[in-house]
């Protein structure tokens, strides 16, 4: 596999995905195929161009089924299997090579059309036909969660899946049989905001949070490592960080002692390929969202890297584990070297007023050649490395 080379970066294309915010993105097997979902539950697949282009290609597939925002996407390395989690409480499994089931017309540039129609004073621009896209349905629907599913990850060996919902329920699944292996719940009322599995799928990280803002006598944040086969707790990371804080501390305690570490919850997490380091991103709207690199065996903080003004939205290690990429609420992807925490590259440019537009998610292609970001302005940005 070619090395991950963040030093030289070139924007390959901006895929048009206007309408509801694009929220998540995943490469499928190579740097030539990519899936992205949005806040309306729309999920498309694109074939990416070889060369830099200003004329973005239309999507080639419309994966139909979700009825509310898509929160996370994970794909197997061969790109054949894609998993999506959603605010519609379902998790869907897609065979991206399956025959299509039909076609439909979609308009993904409505915002641009409306602007053009106003500029040219030609309202008919808005009603021009869209593009025909082949459709397909999910190979399987996991319809067990009873609330928003915000956390999703696939183990490195691609055998296990972990999902977490806003009822505090975490479930570990066997991907082949599609059956549950274990399930457990966190504090009542807390949401599972992120989850990650190690490469062998035997260990899970789960983060909890809830925006209760001082109205409860329960801790609004948790960060724990579990045995993924049994749901038994192995390590309480907040306890490691704050050994003197009571286990059932109240939200005031959270605000004063945990706040700087947790911010508005860990909304993204990823284990390094060798499983030794856990990266967690401080999300929600916060001052400067950091990515903490934690020793996954002891829970101790190795270092905090990156720093997205107003918060982190996504975190991912490069395949060689030498770099950690983060997306954030400052319209940027930041690439940091794990060994010393130095920021090597920053993709994107701050955009917006006092508060910036978000890059909602980031993904690195399995061949390490491309990085993609879900941009809330209505596009998926794809950069080529090296």
């Amino acid at each position: 596999m070619p090395a991950f080379q963040p030093n030289k970066v070139q924007l390959l294309c901006d895929l048009t995905f206007e309408g509801a915010w694009p929220t998540t993105v995943a490469f499928l097997g190579s740097s030539r195929r990519l899936a992205a979902g949005n806040r309306d539950g729309q999920l498309f697949i694109w074939e990416l161009p070889d060369k830099q282009t200003k004329e973005p290609p239309p999507p080639v597939r419309f994966l139909q089924g979700h009825t509310n925002g898509i929160t996370r996407l994970r794909a197997t390395r061969d790109g054949k299997t894609l998993v999506s989690s959603s605010l519609d409480r379902s998790v869907r499994l897609w065979d991206t090579t399956a025959p299509t089931t039909g076609s439909t017309e979609v308009v993904l540039d409505m915002k641009t059309r409306e602007q053009e129609a106003r500029r040219q004073r030609k309202p008919e621009i808005v009603t021009k036909p869209g593009v025909k896209v082949a459709t397909q349905t999910a190979a399987h629907v996991f319809q067990v969660h009873q609330n928003w599913v915000q956390a999703l990850d696939l183990s490195g060996d691609e055998k296990r899946l972990i999902t977490g919902d806003d009822n505090g329920m975490t479930i570990v699944w066997d991907l082949a049989s599609r059956k549950e292996i274990a399930r457990w719940t966190g504090y009542p009322g807390n949401w599972i905001t992120s989850a990650a599995l190690t490469s062998d799928g035997q260990t899970a990280f789960v983060a909890e949070f809830c925006s209760r803002r001082g109205d409860f006598d329960r801790p609004p944040a948790q960060a724990r490592i579990y045995d993924a086969s049994t749901g038994k707790e192995k390590l309480d990371i907040l306890k490691v960080q704050f050994p003197n804080v009571k286990k059932r501390d109240n939200s005031y305690g959270y605000a004063t002692t945990w706040g700087k570490f947790v911010a508005r919850g860990f909304v993204a997490a990823d284990f390094s390929p060798d499983d030794n380091i856990l990266a967690v991103g401080q999300g929600g709207e916060t001052g400067t969202g950091k990515v903490h690199l934690l020793d996954s065996r002891t829970g101790k903080l190795i270092r905090s890297v990156s720093g997205h003004q107003y918060g982190v939205t996504d975190v991912q290690f490069s395949a060689d584990g030498q770099f950690v990429l983060s997306a954030g609420r400052d319209t940027s992807i930041r690439i940091c070297r794990v060994s010393d925490g130095k920021e090597i590259a920053k993709l994107g440019k701050e955009r917006g007023g006092q508060f910036k537009d978000w890059f909602h998610a980031v993904d690195v292609s399995p061949d390490q050649q491309c990085v993609a970001a879900a941009d809330i302005a209505g596009q998926v940005r794809v950069w080529r490395l090296g």
Binding site: W191, S211, R212, D215, F216, R329
Partner: protein, 421 residues
């Protein structure tokens, strides 16, 4: 030992001086109404009101005026209520089951878009002005619905935010404020031995009496009455301690501070208090509106629904108006912080209980919730309707000098469709 004295136990107690009192140190003044009377009497006598105050401005799109499938609709989905044809946000399943008790107004159209102005407006019915201090709704209700010579104040706020107080009605009707957990303020609790307290009281009475003989000033009288009020509160303070009931009602009201506040509100109403305001903060969701409401609404709506059921089971709902509102609504547009900003062109409130015809939605907004489409309700109309529901004439005038000021602003219209005939 029984912690909570039932209201009937206080019936025969001699009434003390009516009126106002201030704290020793700062002139914090509270209102005091009538003798603490029996719960049975509460049911049959004059009306009461509980205001559930959603401070910061709760979103109409995430509560009662959903726009699914529209760009303004947001991330939540509607659910069916127990009234055919009425849908509300999925975050409020308990309230959905009590919809037959609610009258939702989807067509609020008010004038103050910022927090201080909105808080004043939606507590008084009037925009703030430099030369008139308008009384809050709680002060008006304390004046007209309060009982003389009570052991309890008639206008109590629990963790709430009104900024106007009694206004021109004077310190007699000032709110009595409890903290976030419903605790009494420190000044109201004596730490002295009862014998020492009595001796101190007698000495103070003597000194104040001598002073009053020489100085016929209103402030001295108010000060004296304030002390009397605090002393009376000592007898009634058990009602503020909800712990004996909390075990039983925790599951119903929800294990939250807002749930506790609502249970305390019910106890206060049951004990004869005219007006209780219960606040919940943090609705000002310029950022992360959806997770914000997802965190705030479930405990609120569970407690609200429990309050309605509890009041109904005790026969108090027919005499207790429950008002739900914030100071503003939130924008149809979702900003780049995943938030909604301030909006007053079209937003929602809800009423239940005394005088209200439940199971209805009044007014409507357009397809994106940008403007009121049918039956706009101004702040004046809203307050006029509330006052009429509890038997107060909204056109009744008070005077500031020679200037008449109606309880609800001139030109306000009672929305009769919201009221039981």
């Amino acid at each position: 030992m029984k912690k909570f004295c039932t209201p009937i136990e206080h019936v025969s107690r001699r009434a003390f001086l009516k009126g106002t009192f201030g704290t020793v140190t700062g002139g914090l003044l509270m209102n005091w109404g009538g003798l603490w009377h029996a719960a049975e009497n509460v049911k049959n006598e004059r009306k009461h009101c509980i205001l559930l105050w959603m401070n910061g401005g709760v979103s109409q799109f995430e509560t009662f005026d959903m726009k699914p499938g529209r760009p303004t609709g947001g991330l939540f989905r509607p659910i069916q209520t127990n009234v055919t044809g009425i849908q509300i946000c999925e975050l409020m399943p308990n309230i959905a089951r009590q919809m037959d008790k609610l009258a939702v107004i989807r067509s609020m159209h008010t004038s103050q878009i910022d927090h201080p102005g909105g808080i004043h407006l939606m507590h008084t019915g009037y925009a703030a002005t430099a030369n008139i201090r308008y009384p809050e709704i709680g002060a008006i209700m304390a004046k007209y619905l309060g009982k003389e010579e009570s052991d309890l104040p008639d206008f109590i706020k629990i963790s709430s935010q009104g900024n106007s107080g009694a206004g021109y009605l004077g310190p007699k009707y000032q709110p009595f404020n409890l903290d976030h957990s419903g605790n009494l303020p420190p000044f109201s609790l004596s730490r002295l031995d009862p014998q020492d307290e009595l001796r101190r009281h007698e000495l103070r009475q003597f000194v104040e009496g001598e002073f009053a003989k020489k100085h016929k000033v209103e402030t001295a009288r108010m000060h004296q009455e304030a002390y009397e009020g605090v002393r009376r509160l000592q007898r009634a303070k058990a009602v503020f301690d909800i712990e004996d009931e909390w075990e039983k009602y925790r599951d119903r009201y929800g294990d939250s501070k807002f749930g506790k506040r609502c249970l305390l509100a019910r106890r206060l109403i049951e004990s004869g208090v005219a007006f209780v305001e219960v606040g919940q903060s943090s609705y000002d969701t310029h950022a992360d509106n959806f997770t914000g409401h997802k965190g705030l609404l479930p405990p609120m709506e569970q407690a609200w629904a429990a309050l309605l059921v509890d009041l109904e089971e005790r026969g108090l709902l027919q005499s207790t108006l429950v008002v739900w509102m914030g100071e503003i609504g939130r924008t149809p547009r979702i900003n780049n912080r995943s938030g909604r900003d301030h909006y007053v062109r079209a937003w929602s409130t809800a009423l239940a209980g005394a005088g209200i015809k439940g199971g209805q939605v009044y007014g409507a907004t357009d397809k994106d919730g940008i403007d009121v489409k049918d039956n706009p309700v101004t702040e004046g109309d809203f307050f006029a309707t509330i006052y009429k529901a509890v038997g107060i004439n909204p056109k009744k005038e008070h005077y500031q000098g020679i200037r008449p000021i109606p309880i609800a602003p001139f030109g306000s219209k009672v929305v009769d469709e919201l009221l039981r005939s």
